[in-house]
């Protein structure tokens, strides 16, 4: 009987392995096809400057999306990230305009982001409010706070040049700081999630909270980590955004929520279908960034771009969906 099992197993395994390959790489394949198409279709695409540009353009989005990934890993969804981007992006300039030294201003903005994450997790983990509702409400509150502290106006002027360099400067005249920070964050987050016990435990909590608990993992603590990191990363993104824009915008981060979710969802279809991974999210953001940049270079109309982007996403995800049952939440 054991024999039979093994043989039947061997038989089953070949199409299955191909299936796994398709699962892991179909969205990636779409990304590569797109890349090649643009590289061939327009001669300005595949140049050093443009590739660096793409990295810069996706950097804030990617950082938010990586934050969301930590939340998703612990099966928590954070709808407040867009407003945390706004909050941090306002606070840092406001503090600096008020004369606070740059490092302290940055710490203040990061601290505020972390604070939001901790309040969210007190509600979610402590009280038991579902994260979707808690963070939706937090978003409403933060929107009000952002407009209140800024009086609704963008904060211009009085921001030190060193701070602006964070968003507008380049390392060795080539790699923009935002892109550099993003690459460091992606690499670091990848390492933490894939190579440390912290990441392993976070994934375990999201994968099967009961199994994690019975294995002695502090499930509640890790859910807090997931939500706190999600807010903290949004705050990092907000700081870079304000440095890049040279101003604090009260509604600066609002589009990051939906785009960030899109990046995470696309990422969840690759590498480990159904699981949010840092690399998956990065590729998701890259897909979005390459679409935006490439279609701009081709000279496609904004509206048509939006349609084409939707279609590309559907196609990329359809391939996996046919072979795997994806559950996103």
């Amino acid at each position: 009987m054991t024999m039979t099992t093994t043989i039947a197993h061997e038989k089953a395994s070949r199409p299955m392995r191909i299936g796994i390959l398709v699962q892991k790489y179909s969205t990636l394949a779409v990304l590569i096809v797109l890349f090649l198409a643009f590289a061939i279709g327009t001669d300005r695409f595949f140049t050093g400057t443009n590739l660096v540009n793409i990295l810069q353009q996706i950097s804030m989005l990617t950082i938010v999306a990586v934050g969301l990934t930590f939340g998703f890993a612990a099966k928590e969804m954070d709808l407040s990230v867009g407003y945390v981007v706004g909050l941090a992006g306002l606070l840092a300039p406001l503090l600096m305009v008020a004369g606070v030294p740059i490092p302290l201003a940055i710490m203040g903005a990061l601290g505020a982001g972390l604070g939001v994450g901790l309040i969210n997790s007190a509600l979610v983990v402590g009280v038991g409010v579902p994260s979707l509702i808690a963070t939706l409400a937090a978003g409403s509150i933060l929107w009000g706070i952002n407009f209140m502290i800024s009086g609704g106006r963008a904060i211009y002027g009085g921001i030190p040049a060193e701070y602006l360099a964070l968003g507008q400067g380049k390392v060795a005249g080539i790699l923009p700081y935002p892109a550099l920070i993003m690459l460091i964050i992606v690499a670091g987050s990848w390492f933490v999630m894939e190579r440390t016990t912290f990441g392993r435990y976070l994934y375990a909590v999201g994968g099967n909270a009961r199994a994690a608990e019975l294995s002695g993992i502090k499930v509640r603590t890790y859910r807090v980590y997931g939500l706190a990191l999600s807010s903290l990363f949004a705050a990092i993104s907000g700081i870079i955004l304000s440095a890049r824009l040279g101003s604090g915008q009260p509604n600066g981060g609002e589009t990051y929520l939906l785009d960030g979710l899109a990046a995470v969802f696309i990422g969840m279809t690759m590498l480990r279908p159904g699981t949010a991974t840092v690399m998956g999210t990065f590729f998701g953001a890259l897909l979005i960034g390459i679409m935006n940049n490439g279609l701009n270079l081709v000279g496609m109309d904004t509206y048509v771009q939006s349609i084409v982007k939707g279609i590309i996403i559907v196609i990329a995800v359809s391939v996996v969906s046919r072979t795997t049952k994806l559950k996103l939440l």
Binding site: M1, H9, T196, G207, L214, S215, G216
Partner: protein, 511 residues
């Protein structure tokens, strides 16, 4: 009318669950299906009820071939299933669940709610006159036994010609069980065909007109006219008789030797008046090297008690000293740190992460041991090597450390669940609590898991085994505690082990 399943074969990915099985279901008769865990019983009735499609073979109804593409088709043809796992819609009331899919309607679309309630109550009154169930409450607020009764009533609501009951009594308290027995007799008297799957062999013998015995997906025998002359022993022989293999697993009255416990072995578990919502244990001492079996009917509290040894927060009162230290209300994490380990039941729900690999699942509880402090950097090489070592040690059949856990068979999954507590932690755990250690595990793997349990004890751990498989408990345990209705009722020493003793202990005096 009769239904004939002819030469049915079912190949799951990796498992041949049924291998050319034929049976005939005849109106007015009760047809019992027995066999070990994983013999293919559920698969067979799933095919009969349209939930699963056979790989080969045919279904004939009144001599006409039929195909049930989905459960709806089977129900339409008069075949209703009460499934093993239980499937109710949680936020609907009992009455609404009973009528689901067959709601009495006014002007075609509108549910006649009074009629729903009335029909449900009538059915309940008719078939379970002794039982009071709040049919107007949402089912997820009802006790488990009530839910089972509701499932049975739901199956009856469509007035089936064939009623299939897959282990219906496993979770029923005595009173409802009595009602169900009466019900089965009345239904067959009224001309209905009943298919009954049960592990309570005496029950099967008493109720069934004919019995099919399955073993490893094959029909090994068929008793066509069961009179009361068939004994449980004979049935067990039929179920287990697999030629050479597996004989030593059988329960042989009086032939059991006591194992010698080292004198003065450390007392690992010491309990007094330990009480939770569903169990009460007056006192228990388990020493290092000792294996204590816990048996009882489902719902009698032995699982909850066993679980509470690892999760003390499940208890509400009493004293629990672990290695001579008071446990208080320690968390799972604390218990783990002090040296307790749990191998839970329903492993895919409680122990495993389905889309993780064997390696990741294996290292879940002990990965920090092979990681670099202080940041907990995982050392892939060491993790893999340790996994490899345990795969060999426990003889786990997997193509590699990177195979997804869901691709393993139940037995190998279960071995991973045990191996988890030895990952870089050899000798660290002094108490192992097993819940249903061989749930859904085939015979070969079952033996290996039993050997593993024995070896843990030999190396000085205290072991608790809570299981509904009596043969298993008899095989591994040094003594057995039987639970009845939440209470640890009897202790049975190894020399007194016999199936009759066990069954008497868990069922109390036959009612």
């Amino acid at each position: 009318m009769s239904i004939v399943l002819d030469n049915i074969t079912k190949q799951w990915p990796g498992t041949l669950a049924l291998d050319g099985v034929s049976i005939e279901i005849v109106e007015g008769r009760v047809h019992g299906i027995v066999g070990e865990n994983g013999a293919g019983k559920t698969t067979l009735v799933s095919i009969l009820s349209g939930a699963v499609q056979p790989t080969a073979g045919t279904l004939n109804m009144a001599r006409q071939p039929v195909a049930f593409e989905n459960p709806a088709a089977a129900v339409a043809n008069g075949v209703s299933l009460v499934s093993q796992e239980g499937s109710l819609v949680p936020h609907l009331t009992g009455a609404e669940n009973i009528c689901l899919g067959f709601e009495p309607v006014k002007s075609r679309f509108f549910i006649n709610r009074r009629e729903v309630q009335r029909q449900a109550e009538n059915l309940a009154k008719q078939w379970f006159p002794e039982t009071m169930i709040a049919l107007d409450r949402k089912v997820d607020e009802l006790p488990y036994a009530d839910q089972k009764v509701i499932e049975i009533l739901r199956a009856l609501h469509s007035r089936p010609k064939v009623l299939i009951l897959d282990e219906p009594t496993a979770t029923l308290p005595a009173k409802e069980k009595q009602s169900l027995w009466t019900l089965i007799r009345q239904l067959s008297d009224a001309g209905m065909a009943v298919v009954l799957i049960s592990h309570f062999l005496q029950e099967v013998i008493d109720l069934c007109d004919e019995i099919t015995v399955l073993q490893d997906g094959r029909r090994v025998s068929h008793l066509s006219n069961v009179e009361h002359d068939v004994s449980e022993r004979q049935l067990i022989d039929l179920m287990l008789n697999r030629g050479q293999a597996g004989n030593q697993d059988r329960l042989l009255d009086g032939a059991l030797k006591e194992r010698n416990l080292a004198d003065g072995a450390e007392i690992v578990v010491d309990i007094k008046g330990w009480q939770g919502a569903r169990f009460l244990m007056d006192g228990l001492e388990v020493r290092s090297g000792e294996i204590v079996g816990l048996i009882g009917l489902t719902g009698s509290g032995h699982f909850e008690f066993a679980q509470s040894l690892f999760e003390p927060s499940l208890a509400t009162a009493g004293e629990y000293r672990f290695k001579s230290k008071d446990v208080g209300r320690a968390s799972v994490r604390d218990m783990k740190r002090r040296g307790a380990a749990l191998i839970p039941d329903h492993r895919m729900i409680n122990a495993m992460i389905g889309d993780w690999t064997v390696r990741e699942n294996m290292s879940m509880a002990g990965i920090q041991e092979t990681s670099l402090r202080p940041f907990g950097v995982v050392q892939n090489g060491r993790e893999r090597a340790e996994t490899q070592r345990l795969i060999k040690r426990l003889n786990i059949k997997t193509s590699s450390t990177e195979t997804k856990i869901v691709e393993l068979s139940g037995g190998n999954k279960q071995k991973v669940s045990v191996a988890k507590w030895q990952f870089a932690s050899e000798g660290k755990y002094k108490l192992f609590v097993f819940l249903e250690p061989t749930e859904g595990v085939d015979v070969g793997a079952k033996r290996e898991i039993h050997d593993l349990i024995l070896s843990l004890a030999e190396r000085g751990a205290a072991v608790i085994v809570a299981s509904s498989d009596l043969l298993e408990v008899a095989h591994v345990a040094d003594r057995v505690v039987a639970f009845r209705n939440g209470h640890a009722a009897d202790q049975i020493a190894r020399r007194d082990f016999s199936e009759a003793v066990f069954i008497n202990a868990i069922a109390g005096v036959t009612q």
